[in-house]
């Protein structure tokens, strides 16, 4: 009884193939569905936003393929635990929402120290999240160690909000100033001036020679007023002699909304005053 070699060969080929197929069955079996465009309604709650954002971060956004949550040691990409609080202080002048927006739409604009650039632009192919989806992802990011201030209505520089929109987001959130209030030591008057939205109305750059300064410019305020007078105009706009009553009310409301009265500490306001009083060019 001799088995012909060709039978052996066939048996061997089939057995080897079967063995490798078996190995293929022993590894985790995960089917990755093609991502679907999600319809996100505008009137969902923050909790629902976090829920959806988390799903996107794990799924079609593939954020968590690279980023970890709550791991330390030799990482290839920044860990996201606590990003909700960290985001607000990463770039002076950008509040939490603005920072996260920038890092998703323009990932290479700011690269966390110690890491290499490498994140894809999230609203472009191949990941291609929609603006609404990105808002939910931001909500989820903010929920990591912080509390979301973003809503489905938030406008920012990348979804048609423009520059005004940015301050709108800051107003709506109220979080940027709140977080900023906790980090007095780290922020200069310059960045406080921006983060409280003062720069939205007031220019501080000296005008080019021969040109008139824009209205409400503060470039020369240091020469016009002393420290105490500047402080007084900030704290009590009603007493600014050059303003009509209605204008003063308007200014007060804007500054109230920006959190100058509610959130800013005395130290911070002092820093802003120092900053304004410092001499800077111009006549």
């Amino acid at each position: 009884m001799k088995i012909p070699p060709s039978v052996n060969i066939v048996v061997l080929a089939v057995a080897a193939t079967a063995f490798y197929t078996l190995v293929g069955q022993l590894v985790p079996q995960k089917e990755v569905p093609a991502p679907e465009v999600m319809e996100i309604s505008k009137d969902i709650s923050t909790e629902e936003m976090i829920e959806i954002g988390k799903e996107i971060a794990q799924g079609k956004g593939i954020c968590l393929t690279c980023h970890t949550i709550g791991r330390s040691g030799a990482l290839r990409f920044p860990d996201l635990e606590g990003i909700g609080t960290r985001a607000a202080s990463r770039i002076p002048g950008l509040n939490g929402v603005q920072y996260l927006v920038q890092s998703l739409y323009e990932p290479d604009a700011y690269v966390v120290e110690g890491f290499n650039p490498g994140m894809p632009t999230i609203n472009k192919a191949p990941i291609g999240l929609t603006d609404d989806e990105i808002l939910t992802v931001i909500a989820y990011m903010q929920s990591l160690g912080g509390s979301p201030s973003v809503t489905m209505e938030t406008k920012h520089a990348y979804n048609g909000g423009g520059e005004e929109g940015v301050s709108g987001a800051a107003d709506a959130s109220g979080e940027g100033p709140a977080a900023a209030a906790l980090e007095t030591a780290a922020l200069s008057g310059d960045s406080l001036f921006k983060s409280y939205g003062c720069a939205e109305c007031h220019s501080i750059a000296p005008p080019a020679a021969g040109e008139a300064p824009p209205p409400r410019s503060l470039h020369d305020v240091g020469t016009r007023l002393d420290h105490n007078a500047i402080l007084a105009t900030i704290l009590d706009p009603d007493n600014i002699p050059t303003l009509s009553e209605s204008k003063a009310q308007e200014k007060k409301a804007a500054m109230e909304a920006a959190g100058v009265y509610g959130k800013a500490t005395l130290d911070e306001i002092q820093a802003i005053v120092e900053f304004l009083a410092a001499p800077r060019g111009g006549e």
Binding site: P5, S6, A13, Y20, G24, V32, P35
Partner: protein
């Protein structure tokens, strides 16, 4: 003999009993909770439901008969996808493409080493080499037709099943199709002239034909590679997909690395298939000379395969690095995301390949007199190979039961987690390559004694290089645990370079060391035990399977894109299947390929057969 029979019989009995017991246990366990149909059901001839079904069928048939063309809903030219019955479009295209590529690889590889062997024969005036080259070439013509047929099938499948996407590719690469078609004609011309003109021209003309064949073949591969690499790492098109530069589209990120990787892999693959052919002939050989010839042929084929295989991991690094350069996202999907476990399967396959290749060399030492003095080293080499294999196959986050996870306090094992990282795996691969090379060096010298005056110094230098490089590679591997990510990634470069240095310098020393060496033991070709020939076939199957698997990851990496980031896959097959499913498709493809290649072998062996004679005629 009776002992063997008894052994076989008792093993059979044991196996049968085992199967019965296993099946019995399964049946017992399953049966307890099995669903059972009611003992008795009343069969009615015609229920209202059956009537309704029959009516619906008739109505549907009537509707089909009177269906207007407009019902398609879209104008014909806007059809995006058509479905392939039963297995679906993706699997259909996948299988055809994979078979086409396997044959194409073979057809491209055989001329490369046929030419090299012919050249060796020309230089050494050894007739054996010329015959061997011719025998390799014999396998070519049928394979070439099969490649072309499969290529045509692939084109049809793409046009029919993915009309829109195919249209797009044709738009981008319209300039490349004419050269491709012309080159294909040239390839056919060269190939058949090379094959049928064997021995009919002066050797120099024939060698020139071989060179032409290789150049044309490589050019064809370069063009085809441009199409498929463009799909994964597109370049030269706008964000929306409009063509900006055809050259950029051709010269995309993956193109060069794939060209290199494929060129090397084709040689390795072709060598292993040719070795399998030799093994096939060896096992069916009747005479001693035949066995000796095919033993030698198998050795040469396998030698080519292994030599080409050793630098392949480095080409793989380069390819992966370019993928990372194109898109980190894609790189991480490959190594850390959906496809990370595929590389564990790959590790198992490559581990098997290394073990098979080494085993063949060790068995080969059995046919060399005087090789006994090296026998004892085998176990140490084997231990190193097994350890490297184990490290390479260690998953970063293994499959665990909840109880195990609780014990480990997470999904990483404190010790194994350390082995699952890139540092350890790179080190393991480099050491595997070194060890296999060492096996080969030992094999090479097993029947020889060097006669040069500096023999001792030379051997010591070789040993020193081995130890130093192995130590350095290990040191870099350990260092990888203590440095930053950016530094760690860079460590693989000196590892690779030092291993390449070892391969190169030891080979050079070896060549001079054994120049005119005294033969202390004749190599008795044809005395290999049969098992070695089965190992050659095993290596060929493993190679093919590995190639098919890596082809899957190369293509599957695009996930739900036809052209990554540009043309989305909106067909029902847009999802990424499970690895289990992918391996099943791969297995079926590999088996079909071997069925076809068996046919090719059989055809090639026909020419050596005696002519048919009419048995009646011979009687009268």
């Amino acid at each position: 003999m009776s002992k063997r029979k008894l052994l076989l019989l008792s093993v059979c009995v044991a196996a049968v009993i085992m199967v019965l017991v296993v099946a019995g246990t399964k049946v017992l366990v399953v049966f307890e909770n099995a669903y059972r149909t009611p003992v008795e059901t009343v069969q009615l001839d015609r229920t209202p439901a059956m009537q309704g079904e029959a009516d619906a069928l008739a109505a549907a048939a009537e509707e089909q008969r009177t269906r207007p063309l407009e019902e398609l809903g879209v104008p014909l030219k806007d059809v995006e996808y058509r479905a392939f019955p039963v297995i679906g479009s993706r699997v259909a295209v996948w299988s055809i493409a994979q078979l086409h590529l396997l044959f194409a690889a073979f057809v491209l590889a055989v001329p490369i080493f046929a030419l090299i062997i012919e050249f060796i024969g020309y230089v050494t005036k050894d007739k054996r080499y010329d015959e061997l080259a011719y025998e390799f070439t014999k396998l070519l013509s049928v394979s070439f037709s099969l490649t072309a047929a499969l290529g045509a099938a692939l084109t049809f499948a793409l046009i029919i099943l993915y009309p829109r996407f195919t249209d797009y590719l044709m738009h981008v690469f319209s300039l490349t199709f004419l050269p491709y078609a012309l080159l294909f004609f040239a390839e056919a011309g060269f190939l058949y002239t090379y094959y049928y003109g064997w021995g009919k021209f002066s050797p120099k003309v024939h060698l020139a034909l071989g060179i032409g064949l290789n150049l044309v073949g490589t050019a064809i591969m370069l063009i085809a590679n441009a199409w498929l690499t463009f799909m994964t790492t597109p370049r030269g098109v706008s964000e929306a997909g409009a063509l900006i530069s055809t050259w950029d589209a051709v010269n995309n990120y993956m193109w060069m690395p794939i060209n290199i990787h494929r060129f090397i892999a084709n040689v390795a693959f072709g060598g292993s298939i040719a070795a399998a052919y030799a093994a096939f002939k060896f096992l069916h050989a009747d005479s001693e000379e035949e066995r000796a010839h095919y033993d030698w042929m198998g050795y040469v084929g396998n030698f080519i395969a292994i030599v080409a295989f050793l630098p392949l991991p480095f080409a793989g690094y380069y390819l992966a690095a370019e993928i990372y350069a194109f898109s980190q996202t894609m790189g991480l999907t490959m190594m850390g995301g959906a496809f990370s476990w595929l590389f564990i399967i790959q590790a198992v396959l490559i581990g098997c390949l290394f073990i098979g290749a080494n085993l063949y060399l060790w068995l080969g030492m059995g046919r060399i007199e005087g090789a006994q003095r090296y026998r004892g080293y085998i176990k140490y080499l084997l231990v190193v190979i097994a350890l490297c294999f184990a490290v390479w196959a260690t998953p970063r986050s293994p499959i665990t039961t909840p109880a195990e996870m609780r014990e480990m306090g997470g999904s990483f094992h404190p010790i194994l987690g350390k082995l699952g990282v890139m540092s350890a795996k790179n080190t393991a691969v480099n050491l595997l390559i070194l060890t296999t090379f060492l096996s080969f060096i030992i094999y090479r010298r097993s029947g020889l004694t060097p006669v040069v005056s500096w023999a001792k110094t030379g051997k010591a230098a070789q040993l020193l290089v081995f130890i130093a490089v192995a130590g350095y590679v290990t040191y870099l591997g350990i260092l990888g645990y203590f440095v930053d990510t950016t530094v760690r990634i860079g460590l693989s470069v000196p590892q690779v370079l030092s291993v390449l240095f070892a391969l190169f310098s030891v080979t050079v020393i070896d060549i001079f060391l054994f120049r005119g060496a005294r033969t202390i033991g004749e190599t008795r070709w044809g005395t290999m035990p049969a098992i070695s020939q089965y190992i050659l076939i095993f290596i060929a199957v493993t190679f093919t399977w590995l190639m098919a698997l890596m082809g899957y990851v190369r293509s599957g990496l695009r996930q739900h894109w036809h052209v990554y980031g540009v043309i989305r896959d909106t067909s029902p097959d847009a999802f990424t299947p499970t690895l289990g499913f992918a391996t099943k498709v791969v297995s079926v493809n590999v088996l079909v390929f071997f069925g076809l290649i068996g046919f090719v072998f059989w055809l090639a062996s026909l020419s050596g057969k005696k002519d048919w004679e009419d048995p009646e005629g011979s009687v009268s």
